[in-house]
């Protein structure tokens, strides 16, 4: 009896411990998680700065000294490059370990290992588009180059030195919530991170949507709505800049023959955000108050916490570079040194094409290619799933690239065509990291052009300024030499007719140095005028941001860093300027209700700025979206895409009786005034229902848009919501609901550089740190923080708050 009682007591206690130490569904292991000795409580940090300390880590060649300033930015003083990258790895991991690992797991399609089968289809898709394959190709190049080899290996040692110090109680809180442990860092993970960025910036493809549209409305109308040269343009390279090269011969122009597409599936696309773009510009010395050029840059990306960016300064005897890094990659990605400053925005060349593959049989060992059968290469992918058996997936590689979806196969990403092989520039061997590490050390224009010549994908507009007063911009990447419109639609994979064969020589990429207008700029728009000899893509970002930046710069003299800041925060809506008067004039005021008249009145008196306190942007944006729906949905369906804003703007202004305004679903032949009125009334109705009758607080643009910066794993409570801010899509201040300026910087080179920067987050990735989101509020107000740029330790005793001394163990 006693024995039984004892066994029961043991069992009960054992079960209890087991239950409290195990994760059930989304509930973390309660005992482990709530223990103040070990659980989430341990991640709470005190306000203020930790005490300075000295510590020993393995692998260092000499001593390294790190100062942290009042923004918790590390200034790493090392005696050699190896040690600088090693300590960069250590410090970055100290602040961002979970994020670094999670992002690379996401890139590699390994999220199911952490969260279980709910991420299975996501993971499978990442394998199918060859993310790890791409990273392996990159790693090979990284290892061939002594600079990037040393950097990634030292960085990995640093991260691993930090991981080795951790006990489970020290793990970042996300590991505790999801109940797993960090694994060792490797150079492959740095490569995966860069491919994660490449996918975000160059993975989007409209080829499937465009092919559906072509089938629905025919070639002529497709060309009318989706022209290969925009109708409103202010290109990156100013018109009239003469070519400084002899163009190579163009490929023969063949008529577009899209591949048969019997299996095009109807569904809403989900892929990288179309507004993944950015602004950068440099105003020349003659227009600046500092006597030197001033560079500004703000990359627009999804806004998350922990932030994508991490500020750092790296100082060695032959380098002193400062700016933002990507947690997971050594060096500085965007920034400046004593001589030069650089910044990037995304180019949108067509570097993702799809080729229809005709397999010989169901084994998919061979496919038709150039009058014969070509063998496939199969790559086995094992997707490990937490709490379940692993799934083995075989990815088929062709001469073009991987077949992402087999015919009839449902995919995670519905803009992906079925039965097509993907040709993506990011699969090619390249070493983009070498570009950044070279820029970190570059001293002049020649070294800058040398550095960027290694950059293949994702193509970037590299803006440049130096303290010899040069300004420049290269629209740089590796571009296939294509016939016009090659790859606008899905392509045929049974021939090599449309295969990528030759590339535009890098030196012939669009570029401009010291233009007579006294400034360079880019905002992802169409890069060149019609005189540039090569085809890059049929569509780039619409004209508004680029044109507005150029208007502001052209009107600017004696510019200061603060004038650059004011452009970054420019909320003026060029789109509204172009079309709002026309639209308003189309409305027959007599047919409006009392509420509609009131809204009409408010919109008419709007100053055209998307400021957070305005009501106009709320009404105009809703109206614009509904106007697009009413114009295009009946013609193009809701499984494709709409034409660029320029197309509708031109129609509104020039062809109010265009057939596109006719709603094919009604008997009546509608013209612009009909659908303008209808969409305006629908807007009033929607907004009134959602925000109430009285046009007041809730109608303010800042409240309506309600920007949020969410946690990377969408953990509730760990993000910031309801951020009152202006801007929007097509606005220079491109701040949307979940997306916008992920980093804003203004750099003024000179005898010593002065620089400012801010990002919506904080240096620490720990939600329990006061430095987790401390920059969000000043960022949302459009402020910048001065970046501390030091020469030697102890330069700035006022801003330096704490330090760490590293020596080898």
């Amino acid at each position: 009896m006693k024995i039984l009682k004892r066994i029961a007591a043991l069992l009960l206690t054992g079960l209890l411990v087991f239950a409290l130490n195990t994760r059930f569904g989304n509930i973390p292991p309660l005992g482990k998680f709530f223990s103040p000795f070990e659980g989430f409580w341990r991640n709470a940090e005190q306000p203020g700065f930790p005490e300075s300390k000295a510590l020993k880590i393995p692998g260092l060649k000499e001593e390294v000294f790190v100062e942290f300033d009042d923004m918790l930015v590390p200034h790493i003083f090392a005696k050699n490059m190896h040690d600088a990258y090693l300590v960069q790895g250590y410090i970055t991991a100290k602040h961002r370990l979970w994020q670094m690992e999670f992002q690379t797991h996401a890139a590699a399609g390994r999220v199911s290992e952490i969260v279980g089968s709910m991420a299975k289809e996501y993971d499978r898709f990442q394998r199918r588009i060859g993310m790890t394959y791409a990273a392996e190709q990159a790693l090979e190049e990284i290892m061939k180059n002594p600079v990037t080899k040393e950097a990634t290996e030292a960085y990995a040692s640093g991260v691993n030195a930090y991981i080795a110090e951790l006990k489970p109680r020290d793990y970042p809180i996300e590991y505790k919530i999801l109940d797993y442990a960090p694994e060792p860092w490797t150079p492959l993970k740095s490569a995966l991170l860069l491919k994660y960025m490449a996918w975000d910036l160059s993975g989007a493809s409209d080829d499937l949507a465009m092919t559906k549209i072509l089938e629905r409305i025919g070639a002529e109308k497709t060309a009318e709505l989706f022209p290969s040269y925009p109708s409103i343009i202010d290109p990156i390279i100013p018109s009239g800049v003469p070519l400084d090269f002899e163009p190579v011969p163009l490929p023969a122009s063949a008529p577009e023959l899209p591949a048969e597409s019997e299996s095009l599936r109807a569904s809403l696309p989900s892929q990288p955000d179309k507004d993944n773009g950015s602004n950068n510009w440099v105003i020349g010395a003659e227009r600046s108050a500092t006597g030197y050029p001033i560079l500004a840059n703000d990359p627009h990306l999804s806004l998350n916490l922990p932030s994508l960016w991490y500020m750092v300064q790296l100082i060695t005897p032959d380098m002193n570079v400062c700016g933002v890094s990507l947690p997971g990659a050594p060096g500085v990605i965007l920034g400046f040194n004593k001589k030069i400053a650089w910044g990037v925005t995304n180019v949108a060349p067509d570097v993702t094409d799809w080729y229809k593959i005709h397999f010989k049989d169901a084994y998919r060992n061979e496919y038709r290619y150039k009058n014969g059968w070509q063998k496939t290469r199969k790559r086995k992918e094992v997707i490990r799933i937490r709490g379940e058996e692993p799934v083995v997936d075989t990815v088929i590689y062709t001469v073009f690239g991987p077949v992402a979806l087999q015919a009839g196969e449902k995919g995670f990403n519905t803009s992906t065509p079925q039965g097509y092989a993907m040709r993506w520039a990011a699969h090619d061997s390249s070493n983009e990291l070498f570009t950044f590490l070279s820029l970190n050390k570059a001293q002049n224009y020649e070294q800058y052009t040398e550095a960027i010549s290694h950059f293949i994908c994702p193509a970037q507009n590299f803006a440049y300024a130096d303290n010899e007063k040069n300004i420049a911009l290269w629209v740089n990447g590796r571009y296939t030499l294509k016939r016009k419109d090659q790859g606008k639609f899905l392509l045929d994979g049974s021939t090599d007719k449309d295969a990528w064969k030759v590339y535009i020589p890098q030196g012939q990429n669009p570029h401009v140095k010291n233009p007579s207008r006294g400034y360079v700029s880019s905002a992802n728009q169409y890069p060149v005028d019609s005189l540039y000899p090569y085809y890059l893509n049929w569509e780039f970002a619409s004209f508004e941001r680029g044109m507005r930046i150029n208007q502001r710069l052209a009107a600017m003299n004696r510019a200061t860093p603060d004038s650059m800041r004011s452009i970054q925060n420019d909320n003026y809506s060029l789109r509204a300027e172009y079309i709002l008067p026309t639209l308003l004039s189309q409305i027959d005021k007599k047919s409006l209700s009392k509420q509609e008249s009131k809204i009409f009145q408010i919109l008419s008196s709007w100053n055209l700025y998307n400021n957070p306190d305005e009501y106009g942007p709320t009404i105009f944006t809703t109206w614009w979206n509904l106007l697009n729906d009413l114009t295009w949905k009946d013609d193009l369906g809701n499984d494709t895409r709409y034409p660029a804003p320029e197309t509708l703007i031109r129609l509104l202004k020039e062809r109010p009786d265009s057939e596109w305004f006719d709603d094919k679903r009604t008997k009546k032949r509608e013209v612009l005034s009909d659908i303008a009125l209808k969409s305006f009334q629908m807007s009033c109705d929607t907004l009134t229902k959602r925000l109430g009758n009285s046009v007041s607080v809730a109608w303010k643009w800042g409240n309506f848009k309600s920007t949020a910066v969410l946690h990377l794993a969408k953990i509730p409570g760990f993000g910031r919501t309801k951020i009152f801010s202006g801007g929007g899509s097509g606005i220079v201040n491109a701040l949307k609901e979940r997306h916008g300026p992920s980093w804003r910087t203004v750099i003024a080179p000179g005898a010593t550089p002065t620089a400012f920067g801010i990002y919506p987050g904080g240096q620490s990735g720990n939600p329990g740190s006061p430095f987790y989101d401390n920059m969000i509020d000043p960022w949302s107000r459009g402020e910048l923080k001065e970046i501390l740029f030091e020469d030697c330790p102890g330069d700035n005793t006022k801003r330096v708050k704490t330090s760490m001394k590293f020596s080898t163990r």
Partner: protein, 119 residues
Amino acid sequence: MILFILILLATAIAQVFLPWWSIVPVSFVCALFFARSGKQSFLAGFFAVGISWFVYSFFIHWKTEGLLTQKVSEMMSLPSLWILFVLTSLIGGIAGGTSAWAGYIFKPKKRNLQRSPYF
């Protein structure tokens, strides 16, 4: 009372070096020697660990100005962040109490440890 103080101190020291579940063997062993009844041992374990978890977590909350406490209580959609302290104390308490009770169950019957010189 001796059992309560003993479990409080011994588990606190153990948890500094060992995983959280070290409270289980530690409370068990303490009860093995110092338990008087099932109820007494459970309550001693429950309050010893529950109070130490409450005090320590509250200390952290106070020292860090509740920055993380607020976020975690939002994550769990708790109506008030005080529920976090209740949960913390309860979870620690139940683990400590159950293991102390189990220790009592295993206690040899014959010897009367109430007269232990340590009492």
